[in-house]
C-alpha cells in the first residue's frame, strides 16, 4: 500500500523549520528589492509625466528596456556582466536586480494611477490659487496612492516569487535550499513542497495585509466626485 505514493510527506513538519533561515533570506531580498523598486518607481513615474522631454524620454526608455527583458537576464548582467568593472556579491545583486526590475513596473503603476485621477481635481485645486506642485502633493497624490494599492500589492507578490531567481546566483534563499536539501536527503519532492508551503504562507500574509489596507482606504470615498 505504501508504494502507491512514492513520497514520504510525513517528513514535512520535521523539515519545515529547517527552512527558516532560507525564508528569512527570501523575505529580505523581497523587502529590500521592493523598497529600491518603490524609490525608482516613484522617480521614474514623475520622470515620465514630466514636461521636460529629455527626462520623460529617459524614463520611458528605462521602462521599455526593463519590461522588455527577463529579470533573470538583468540579474546575470549585474552579477556576471559587471564583474569586469566591479564585483557585486550575490545578495546585493539579487536586491538590485529585483529593485531595478520592479522599479519599471511600479513606475507604470504610479503613473497610471496619477493620470487616472480626474483632471477636474487638478483644476479645482488650481482654481483656489494652489501652485501646481502643492496641488499634486495635497490633492492628486493622496488619491493616486489609494488607487495604486491593489496593483502594488499584486506587484509585491510577483516580486516575492521572483526573488526565487536569486537561487541561480547562490543566494541561500528558499528555492536554493530546497534543491540542496532535496539532493542531500534524496527527498526532492518533499523539500520542494515545503518550499511551496513557505511561499504560500508568505504570499497569503501579503495578500491579507494588502486587502486590509485597501479596505481601510475605501472608507472615505465610494465614488470619484
Amino acid at each position: 500500500m505504501g508504494n502507491i505514493i512514492p513520497w514520504n510527506f510525513s517528513v514535512i513538519p520535521e523539515y519545515f523549520f529547517v527552512f527558516r533561515e532560507a525564508a528569512f533570506y527570501t523575505l529580505q531580498i523581497t523587502t529590500l528589492g521592493i523598497l529600491v523598486g518603490l524609490i525608482i518607481g516613484l522617480l521614474v513615474a514623475f520622470g515620465k509625466i514630466a514636461k521636460n522631454r529629455v527626462i520623460s524620454h529617459i524614463s520611458g526608455a528605462y521602462i521599455f528596456v526593463i519590461r522588455g527583458t527577463p529579470l533573470l537576464l538583468q540579474l546575470f548582467i549585474i552579477y556576471y556582466g559587471l564583474t569586469t568593472i566591479v564585483t557585486v556579491p550575490p545578495f546585493p545583486s539579487a536586491v538590485f536586480a529585483l529593485g531595478i526590475h520592479n522599479g519599471a513596473y511600479i513606475a507604470e503603476i504610479f503613473r497610471g494611477s496619477i493620470i487616472s485621477i480626474d483632471y477636474g481635481q487638478m483644476e479645482a485645486a488650481r482654481s483656489l490659487g494652489m501652485p501646481y506642485t502643492r496641488a499634486m502633493r495635497r490633492i492628486i497624490l493622496p488619491q493616486a496612492f489609494k488607487r495604486a494599492v491593489p496593483p502594488l500589492g499584486n506587484q509585491f507578490i510577483i516580486a516575492l516569487k521572483d526573488s526565487s531567481l536569486a537561487s541561480t546566483i547562490a543566494v541561500p534563499e528558499l528555492l536554493l535550499r530546497g534543491r540542496q536539501l532535496g539532493s542531500s536527503t534524496f527527498m526532492y519532492m518533499e523539500m520542494l513542497i515545503i518550499v511551496a508551503l513557505w511561499y504560500l504562507l508568505m504570499t497569503s500574509v501579503l495578500s491579507y495585509v494588502v486587502h486590509r489596507i485597501e479596505k481601510r482606504l475605501r472608507v472615505s470615498d465610494r465614488d470619484q466626485t
Binding site: E123, L128, M130, P142, T225
Partner: protein
C-alpha cells in the same frame, strides 16, 4: 461692446485656439464690480473656454486681462495670486473625495492662504452654514447628493474670499429637484453684492439675478443685453433661434 468706465475685470481682444480650432474670436468684455453676468449660447460656442481663460486655467493665445485696471501678467506666481481672487464652480463639482466636507472648504484658506487651522475652521463652518450644510461638515463628498456637493463646492470657492465668482453650468449635472437649492444660494450671493459670471441655461435665474445676459455664438459675443431685452426682443436671428429652443414655449 459695453465699455465701462472703471471695470472690475476687463478682457481685451481675447483669442483662443485649440490646434486649428478657433474657439474664441476677439472677445472683449468688461465686468463691473457687483455685476451678475449670465452667459448663454449653444453647446460648443465657447462659454466654458471663456470662463477658463478668465481665471487662466486655459491660456489664451492673445488678449489682455485687467483686474482693477491693473494688467495681469501671465506669470505663474501672479496667476496663482489672481486665481485666489476668482472663485470657480464647476459643472461636475470636483470636490476633493479624500477629504471631509469641512476639510474641502478649509483647504484653500489653510493651504493656499496659510491661515491658522482654527480660523479656517470658523470660516468653513460659517460658509457651510450659509449654504445650509453645516450638519454635513464631517461627512465625505461621496455621501452627498449632487445639489449638496455643488453647494459645498460654492462654499469651498467662497472660503478664499474671492472678489468674483465664475460658475460653469453649476446645475446642469443635477436632478431637476436639486437645481433650486443651488440657484437659491447663487441668487443670494448676487444679492449680497458678489460679482459673478454664470454660464447657465436656467432662464429664471437669468431673469431674477442677472444684470446682463451675454449670448455667445461660435466663439464670439454676438449680443449682450439686459435679461428683459434679451428674452423678449433679441436682435440677432441666431439669438432668436437659440432662445426659441431653450425658452418654454407659450
Amino acid at each position: 461692446m459695453t465699455r465701462l468706465k472703471d471695470p472690475f475685470l476687463r478682457i481685451e481682444h481675447l483669442e483662443k485656439w485649440y490646434g486649428d480650432l478657433h474657439v474664441l474670436r476677439d472677445i472683449s468684455l468688461d465686468i463691473a464690480e457687483k455685476e451678475v453676468v449670465v452667459v448663454i449660447g449653444a453647446s460648443g460656442s465657447g462659454k466654458s473656454t471663456l470662463l477658463r481663460c478668465i481665471n487662466f486655467l486655459e491660456r489664451a493665445q492673445k488678449g489682455k486681462f485687467f483686474l482693477d485696471g491693473v494688467k495681469i501678467k501671465p506669470a505663474e506666481k501672479e496667476l496663482n495670486r489672481v486665481r485666489q481672487e476668482m472663485g470657480m464652480v464647476f459643472q461636475h463639482f470636483n470636490l476633493f473625495p479624500h477629504m471631509s466636507v469641512l476639510k474641502n472648504v478649509m483647504e484653500g484658506p489653510v493651504h493656499v492662504k496659510g491661515l491658522p487651522k482654527k480660523e479656517a475652521r470658523d470660516i468653513a463652518h460659517r460658509l457651510l452654514d450659509k449654504v445650509g450644510l453645516d450638519d454635513k461638515a464631517d461627512t465625505y463628498p461621496a455621501m452627498l447628493s449632487g445639489g449638496q456637493k455643488q453647494r459645498v463646492a460654492i462654499a469651498r470657492a467662497l472660503a478664499m474670499e474671492p472678489r468674483v465668482m465664475l460658475f460653469d453650468e453649476p446645475t446642469s449635472a443635477l436632478d431637476p429637484e436639486l437645481v433650486g437649492d443651488v440657484l437659491k444660494v447663487m441668487e443670494d450671493l448676487g444679492r449680497e453684492g458678489m460679482t459673478m459670471v454664470v454660464v447657465t441655461h436656467e432662464m429664471w435665474f437669468a431673469k431674477e439675478a442677472a444684470d446682463r445676459v451675454i449670448f455667445m455664438d461660435d466663439g464670439v459675443i454676438l449680443e449682450e443685453a439686459t435679461p428683459e431685452k434679451m428674452f423678449t426682443a433679441p436682435e440677432h436671428e441666431r439669438t432668436q433661434a437659440f432662445l426659441k429652443q431653450i425658452l418654454p414655449q407659450e
